[in-house]
């Protein structure tokens, strides 16, 4: 492929271009998380509301809607992961270590992005096998008639809840740096807006953490729905 037919290669191969793709795909995933959480919280409204919502997801656009969403999300996730692993490797190669290491003000979350990210990746794979592909035939059987019950049964397992909690905590860490980062990478941050962006980022991460955790905790510890 020559340069003129591969505009995207040029963008991909530049530092800022690759970062831009990380930010844009990150933004799509961030917006998805908000929608996903809003839908999931319907579980507290009631069995009927939750099952109707699940039904709606599978019937919108005559059933094509859910597949379009899956395709977009999967593409974004793959681009995000491939780009960040590549960036992390380039960064390690570019930066020799000091004997006496010191950090001036970078946050802990910003320094473990690759580890929080890889944990999220492991979680996403597990989560899809658990609730989307449903490798557990018992759970798959329940899901056919009652998605609400599938969630209750799924979260009655202590190990599942523990892994879920660890993953959500690292997701919260990832987002607390990631959301603010989007603004800088897209060139939308300035000294004036920085404090607001910082609050938005941490606030969003906290809402995601509390929101997603509330469901398994309510089911496992407070016997919600059981």
């Amino acid at each position: 492929m020559n340069a003129s037919t591969c505009s995207l290669c040029t963008i991909w191969n530049s530092s800022i271009g690759k970062k831009l793709l990380v930010a844009l795909t990150g933004l799509v995933l961030v917006l998805f998380l908000a929608g996903h959480l809003a839908g999931n919280l319907l579980i507290f409204v009631g069995e009927e509301a939750f099952n109707e919502y699940a039904e709606m997801l599978h019937t919108m656009l005559h059933g094509a809607g859910v597949w379009i969403a899956r395709a977009v999300l999967l593409t974004c996730l793959v681009i995000h992961v491939v780009a960040t692993i590549s960036l992390t490797r380039l960064n390690r190669a570019a930066s020799p270590k000091y004997v006496h290491e010191q950090t001036i003000q970078a946050s802990k979350s910003s320094r473990i992005m690759i580890w929080s990210g890889l944990t999220i990746l492991a979680f996403v794979i597990f989560h899809l096998l658990h609730f989307t592909v449903r490798v557990d035939s018992g759970l798959a059987e329940i899901a056919k008639t009652n998605p609400h019950k599938m969630v209750i049964v799924g979260f009655s397992n202590g190990l599942v809840v523990l892994f879920y909690a660890i993953a959500m905590t690292l997701l919260c860490s990832h987002l607390s740096h990631g959301v603010a980062s989007i603004f800088q990478t897209l060139g939308l941050r300035s000294k004036k807006s920085a404090p607001l962006i910082e609050k938005l980022s941490k606030g969003y991460a906290l809402v995601i953490w509390l929101g997603f955790l509330s469901i398994p905790l309510a089911i496992y510890f407070f016997k919600f729905g059981r």
Partner: protein, 251 residues
Amino acid sequence: MLNLTLKVWRQKTPQDQGSIETYDAKNIPEEASFLEMLDIVNERIIESGGEPIHFDHDCREGICGACSLTINGVPHSKEKGITSCQVHMRKFRDGDTIWIEPFRARAFPVIRDLIVDRSAMDRIIAAGGYIDVRTGSAVDANSLPIPKPDADAAFDAAACIGCGACIAACKNSSAMLFTAAKVSHLGHLPQGQPERDKRVLAMVRQMDAEGFGNCTNQYECEAACPKEISVDHIARMNRDYTVASLKEQLV
């Protein structure tokens, strides 16, 4: 008078492995500057027949950008807004151990001890950190009206002395703050407009080619910069680069 222990990076040649050597720095006057402290230690090393500690320096007043010491893990020390040559010994306490290392980055090969080769930064400037003018009939710069905020922003960016502390402080050895300062300085002014797209593309490409890392928005650079150059310039460069490369690739 201060009695200190120095842990200094010694490396004979660029190929040499290099290692930390320990020195006792006894009876250092509190009014000495950091570089004067090293001068005193070096005189004693020379007197005892050793090879002095090599380090870069020139103006010794914070304007040339030559000095380049990483002091206790922080380029130009943890004091805000100063260069290594502006660090004073009164900031240390008797009995302290001080770690002194070069400005580290894969793109900054060590020449000797604490001296690194920073010519990668010169090549970034050469790639586009200039404007083309006809010298014979150049117009008076003051005849062009420039809004005050733009002039101020350009001036803030132009304060960069090209020391490389931003790169040395960055966890990824990224040169974004330095490059952004140079791109912004000209990009804010009317004289810089005709080559604005070309400049940002060329300078970022040179930056990538030199093997610097990629920014992860941790802002260690801004905290280490002796001229307190703002990361706002990086945001602006991200924007300029995106627009310029989309124009180049798709329009």
